[in-house]
Structures are given as structure tokens and as C-alpha cells.
Symmetry: C2
């Protein structure tokens, strides 16, 4: 069994134990059936079961991520095959009261969805037949949310607007927003269904500001769990901090005892729509592409040798007396040791929205990164990249968002309750 | 092992035997490695192998569909998780000579891609690490192709423009085209890579006219192979003819001895972008949705009872004296027995392109259907649906294409050679 499958199996077990331990009889029955089959789970909620039998789901369908816990799901969850990100603005006239009701509805829906159960009598049924497929639904608040809800005193300093970068070509209509929701699942219909439910449950309280779709590799496509490749063909994510690193929690999650106690266990998400200029990139010979990145394309190993996980030798000179890893190589400039140990957890989706108006592919990376403080994570790294990264000529930041993602809900809580009612 | 896996395994075996039997030493070596691992396959083509080991690919990655045969791939191939359809117009000044060279390049690329091998030294590497993931690449010719190449005498009568339907809201810029390519794979990166290769190999000979993306369920998401669900949540495809039906070939593929011998073994593809008005649909109570369709939503069984595969009892009356399956139910009007036995093989992808300018989801069905003659398949059924289908209020046909898809290439042939050089 692969590491990823191990992880997912662990999550299923954790989820099962958690829900069996805390839910009432109906909830527990739902979950037991939920682990056996999506149709049965629907049946447990009072809908016709269809076939009558409840065959064991395949691995992909059965993957379950817990909704409750110290942190929200969708941050350390392994990459999923399909993703949606969507930002909402509160409706005119809506304030804190409407926000409370909204976060209650969204939390209740997310918990059902992530357990593979239908949401209400009017459930559209798009996700039927499948299990939860490792669905996660993650909620965050943009800086403008605090103005709208009279909670400015609780707005974290970390939500100060990101600085402008010289390479930004940001579309304000596809940036920011009062509320942000990230949806990921290993099945496109399950993810789409969750997105529709979240939109529907927004009701009159909030309106979609922007929405984007993304994807990663399908489970089982590669022989073993591997670092992702992006649409440039580059291994992408090698230097990501790992949950087993001793300082992982400190770097990624907000510690207790901070200025804003409601953010304890939370994280800050920076979301950037990074368009890749693939027509230009693909014209570049392999050797030049590798010098732009500083790593081999085939396996992600640094140009100074070894394997993907070998530390790049940034001081090594070639026979021409120049650094083997060029001074403007992406891997050099983004290396943690070149950025005062700045660390963020990158957890992106690729995107492909067809052909743009200029005839080039409208494709690239829905860059999503997580950190305890953007001023110690994304910002310093992006500042350096903005000045000297050889990759800049082949990418364009088209949209940007920064969101405070509170910790996971405890039993009986909804997401954001400690902010809205604390 | 599931039926689908059985099918795929059969295909892998067929493909392996075929290529081992016909390819040269390098090809055979490439294929053996190809069955073992994507990276190794890249290595066989002369690129660095990366990790060095060649672990067995997971089922999804290893799925291989043969490029050569009586019919092109991607028609009877089981639904894939990810799809692209793209239409090209020949460039100004390009004619038959350029079309011959283009179809040679495209065929060579498709054969490599479908075997999980890189295409040339400049391969972008996006699909690395994975196997072919049941990739198929399918080529067709639109009516305008025959004008452009001086082959009007070989244009089949079946390519006469489709009649206008009252519910059509067709966008000409996203319809028709000289050439059409359908790409499907069980991994989004593999499919994207194939699309980029096809675009690149078009070179100066042809320019993209339109391009659309779609998806189906991920392998392993459901407990067993099931008929697909569309984004309305309806089981969709129950009445599809099956390759084991005695008259399947006659209905779907062009028989030998016809007016256009080059189309022997070929099929006609009707492609419609069918937008679903999901906001309206989801407001309809379940019971009304089921009367629109004539089938239960949960399991696709006809409203007259039984299971998904039970024949609807179209004459059955309810206690109110009215037909149990309403006179305007979609299942009644599209039933083969109501259309003189018209049959087509529907093989769609769902699509979701975010939020439309009107704030509603830009989502629905990339309807693709296959038949030996559109005048006996799509056209009569759509004529009936256009007049009386209750579903019409919830869908909108936004784009349309009709393409002659020639038979599969024999050894040494490229796709369309019998048309272009016959």
C-alpha cells in the first residue's frame, strides 16, 4: 500500500472513530454505511437506496477526511484530483447576524458532504453512487469580511493587503472577496456537487464574487506517490515542509497565545492564479528550461546532482566558472535557506480554462500556499522572486487573494464560531 | 475485477500483442517498458530515466487503448475521467498536401501518446511519471474540410448540415470546423499533454477554431461500474447500444460497400455543447424532476417500476388515468422504439467552465454521439425532442459540430489516408 493510501486509510480510520465516538445513533449509522457505499449513505438519510445492495467502495470512493479537528481539512490533506476555489461577498445589508447563520449552514453542509451524505431533501444527487472521494471543504475570511461584520478589532494584522509585485497583472474582479471556500475531491462530480451545495446554501446572504476550477493527477495514475508536476512539466513541491518536520506546526498553523485567539490552529492562505505562458515555455529547449528552474525536468534533482530530495549545492561552479545553478534560477531564489527560513506549504491545483482571447492556452497554476504568517512565508519569497527569478518571463500573476482560515471546528461548533461569537 | 477493468485489461493485452507483433525492436522495447512505467517509457525513447527503477504502474496509469484497428479509439472505449475536444481550421493557403502532412504528424503523435511515450525531443514532459491512463486520440473531418482540400466528390452525404432545431442557441465560433480531435484519458495531466502535443503538431497547417474541456467520474470512485450521472444528477446512458448487441456494428459503424469506401469502419460524431440551466433545475422538486425525465433519479429505473435496465411501460396508466411516464417525458420521447429504432452511441463528458456572464453556472454536457448515419441516429431523435421534450426547458444547445470519423488506421497507415490518398 502506498504512503498516500496509508495516509488516506488513516484518515478513514480517524474519521470513523471520531464520528462513531461523537455522533448520535443516526450519525453513526450513516457513517458505517458511508464507509460501505455512497448509495447506502443516501439511503441512510431516508432516500431510496436504488440497487439494494451496498457493495464495498473502491479505494478512491471510500477516502474520507474528517471535518472536525484542530485544523480545517484541505491543508495537509494529500493533493486531490479535482478542486474548486470560490470567493463570495456578503450581500448588501448582510452583516454579522447573516454571517453567523451562513457559517452555520455551510459547516453543517460541509460535514454532511465530507461524510458522503446528501444535504437535505433537495440534494441534487450529482454525487450519488460514489463515496466522499476524500472531499474537503475549507473556509476562510478575507480582510473585507471584518468591515462588513463589525469585527474590525478582530482582524489579524496578517490580513494586511499583500504588497504589489512588479510582475502582477491582477484582475480585481477575480481577486479577494469577503469569504473564500476551497473544495477538493478525487472525483469531479463529487467536487462539483459540493460546489453547488455551497453556492445554494449561501442563499441570499452572499453572492459569488469569482470561482475557479483546478485539477491534479488522478489517484493510481503514477506508479507510486510522487511530487506533483505542473503544466510546464516541472516537478513542483519538492521543498514543501512535511507534517513530520519538527517545526511544521509552528510554520504553518497559528499558535495559541497570539493577538487573535480565534485564529489558534488556523492558517493563512495566499491564493494566486498564475498563468503560464506555455507557448513561450515549450519553445525553450530542455537544457534552457532546466537552467531557468535549476533542477532536472525528468526527476526534479538539482542541477548539481543527486535525486529530487538532494540539497542543491548553490555554491558549486561549473567548468566555465559560473554557478551550476544559475544566479536567477527559480530553485535558488525560492530556496528556504535564501529566505531566512521562510516556509509555506504549497498545495496547488493546475488550471486549464481553454484558449484565451489572445489564442494562447488559458492555463497554469492555482497557487495556494499556507502559512502561520504571510509576512514570513509568501511575501518574502515572492519579493525575491519578483526581483530576480528567471521563471518570471514565463508566468503572469492574474488574480490574488489572502484569507484567514480559522482552526477546525470542535464538536458542536461551526467554522468561525470563535470569531463570530467568541 | 470489475467489468471495466476487465475491458481495460483486455485492451492492454490486445495493445501489447499488437505492438509486439508489428513494431520493430525499439518499438517493442518501448512497449514492454511502457507497460511497466511511464518514466521507463520516456527512458526508452532516449531521455534520462530519473529514478532508475521501473515500478509496476497502478491500474489507472497502465490502461492502454490500441491506436490501430478497424475503428478509431475513443468510440467504444469506456468513459474516461477527463476529456478535451478541439476543432481546427486549415490555415489560409493550406490544402490537400498540407492536410496529408498534418494527418501524418498527428497520427504519429497519437500513436506515441497512446503508448505512453514522449513525442520528440521537445516533449514538454507534463505527462511524465504516469502511464497512458487509457488515453485515446480520435480524428474527424468536418464538411468544410472537403472544400478546402479539393475532395468535394468524397464528401459523404451524411455530412449535410444538421437541420436547425427550435431550441438551438448555437454560437458559430464554437461550432463546426475543418478538423476535429477528441482526447480522453483517466488522468488530467495526460489528457492536457496530449492536447498540447496535438496543437503543437498542427504547426502552420491548422489553427484552433474552438476547444472545450470535460470530465467524467474518476476510476474507483464508485463501488462498481455504473451508468454515468450527468450534472443534473440523472443516470444518463441507460439505453445506449452495447458492443455485444447483434446490430451494434451496423448502427454505429459505416459498413463496407458504401458510396464512400474510405469511410468503411468509420462513424459520424455529433458534438453538442448542451448547457444545463442548473439553477432552474435544482429548484424543481425531486418528484417533478423525475416526471420530466420519466425515470427515478436514485437509480434510473423507469417510473413504471423495476430497475435501471427494465423496459419502460409506456402504455401504463396511473390511478388518475394519465400515463405514468408523462407524454413529454424525456425517456419516452428519446426511446428507440418511439423513433423507428434509431440508435446512437452516446459517449459524453460533463463540462463546467465556472460562472457565466449571467451569474449562472456555465456547466452541462459535452454531448458526443456516434452513429453510422446521423439521419438515422441523432437527427430524428433530436427532431422529436425539439418538439415535445419536457427537458427542453432546462437545457440549451450552445454549439454544434458534425464530423466524419474514418476507420482506424491499419499498420503503416495514418488516419484518413484512404480519404486523402485513396
Amino acid at each position: 500500500m502506498s504512503d498516500k493510501q496509508d495516509d488516506q486509510q488513516d484518515m478513514v480510520e480517524i474519521s470513523r472513530r471520531r464520528l462513531l465516538g461523537t455522533a448520535g445513533a443516526a450519525g453513526a449509522a450513516g457513517l458505517v454505511l458511508g464507509a460501505a457505499g455512497g448509495a447506502a449513505t443516501y439511503a441512510a438519510a431516508g432516500e431510496p437506496s436504488g440497487g439494494g445492495d451496498a457493495p464495498a467502495l473502491a479505494t478512491v470512493g471510500a477516502g474520507t477526511v474528517p471535518f472536525r479537528g484542530a485544523h480545517q481539512a484541505g491543508i495537509t490533506t494529500p493533493l486531490q484530483a479535482r478542486g474548486h476555489v470560490v470567493a463570495f461577498d456578503l450581500a448588501p445589508g448582510a452583516g454579522r447576524k447573516e454571517a453567523v447563520a451562513l457559517m452555520r449552514r455551510w459547516s453543517a453542509a460541509a460535514e454532511l458532504l465530507m461524510a458522503g451524505r446528501p444535504v437535505g431533501d433537495g440534494d441534487s444527487g450529482v454525487a450519488r453512487d460514489a463515496g466522499p472521494c476524500s472531499l474537503t471543504v475549507t473556509f476562510g475570511f478575507g480582510a473585507s469580511f471584518f468591515d462588513r461584520t463589525g469585527l474590525v478589532a478582530r482582524r489579524p494584522a496578517q490580513l494586511e493587503p499583500l504588497p504589489a509585485f512588479s510582475a502582477d497583472r491582477l484582475d480585481a474582479r477575480r481577486s479577494n472577496g469577503d469569504l473564500w471556500v476551497q473544495i477538493g475531491a478525487d472525483d469531479a462530480l463529487v467536487a462539483f456537487h459540493a460546489l453547488r451545495v455551497i453556492q445554494k446554501e449561501a442563499g441570499a446572504a452572499a453572492k459569488v464574487r469569482w470561482q475557479m476550477n483546478g485539477f491534479n493527477r488522478s489517484p493510481g495514475a503514477t506508479a507510486r506517490p510522487m511530487t506533483a508536476r505542473n503544466l510546464m512539466g516541472q516537478v513542483d513541491g519538492t521543498n514543501n515542509p512535511k507534517p513530520t518536520d519538527p517545526d511544521f506546526d509552528r510554520r504553518i498553523f497559528v499558535a495559541a497565545g497570539g493577538d487573535q485567539p480565534w485564529m489558534t490552529g488556523g492558517s493563512y492562505a495566499v491564493v494566486r492564479r498564475i498563468r503560464m505562458l506555455l507557448d513561450d515555455w515549450e519553445k525553450l529547449p530542455l537544457e534552457k528550461q532546466e537552467r531557468v528552474i535549476g533542477r532536472r525536468k525528468s526527476d526534479g534533482a538539482p542541477l548539481t546532482g543527486g535525486t529530487e530530495t538532494t540539497k542543491p549545492d548553490l555554491d558549486k561552479l561549473g567548468s566555465d566558472g559560473k554557478p551550476v545553478i544559475p544566479v536567477d534560477a527559480h530553485a535558488r531564489i525560492s530556496a528556504p535557506e535564501q529566505n531566512g527560513g521562510a516556509a509555506m506549504l504549497r498545495r496547488p491545483f493546475s488550471f486549464h480554462d481553454g484558449i484565451g482571447p489572445d489564442g494562447t492556452p488559458d492555463a497554469g497554476l492555482l497557487f495556494i500556499c499556507w502559512q502561520a504568517d504571510p509576512l514570513r512565508g509568501f511575501v518574502p519569497v515572492q519579493r525575491k522572486l519578483d526581483r530576480g527569478d528567471a521563471l518570471s518571463a514565463f508566468i503572469r500573476h492574474e488574480a490574488s487573494g489572502l484569507y484567514a482560515v480559522p482552526g477546525g471546528p470542535a464538536d458542536g461548533e461551526y467554522v468561525g464560531q470563535r470569531l463570530l461569537e467568541g
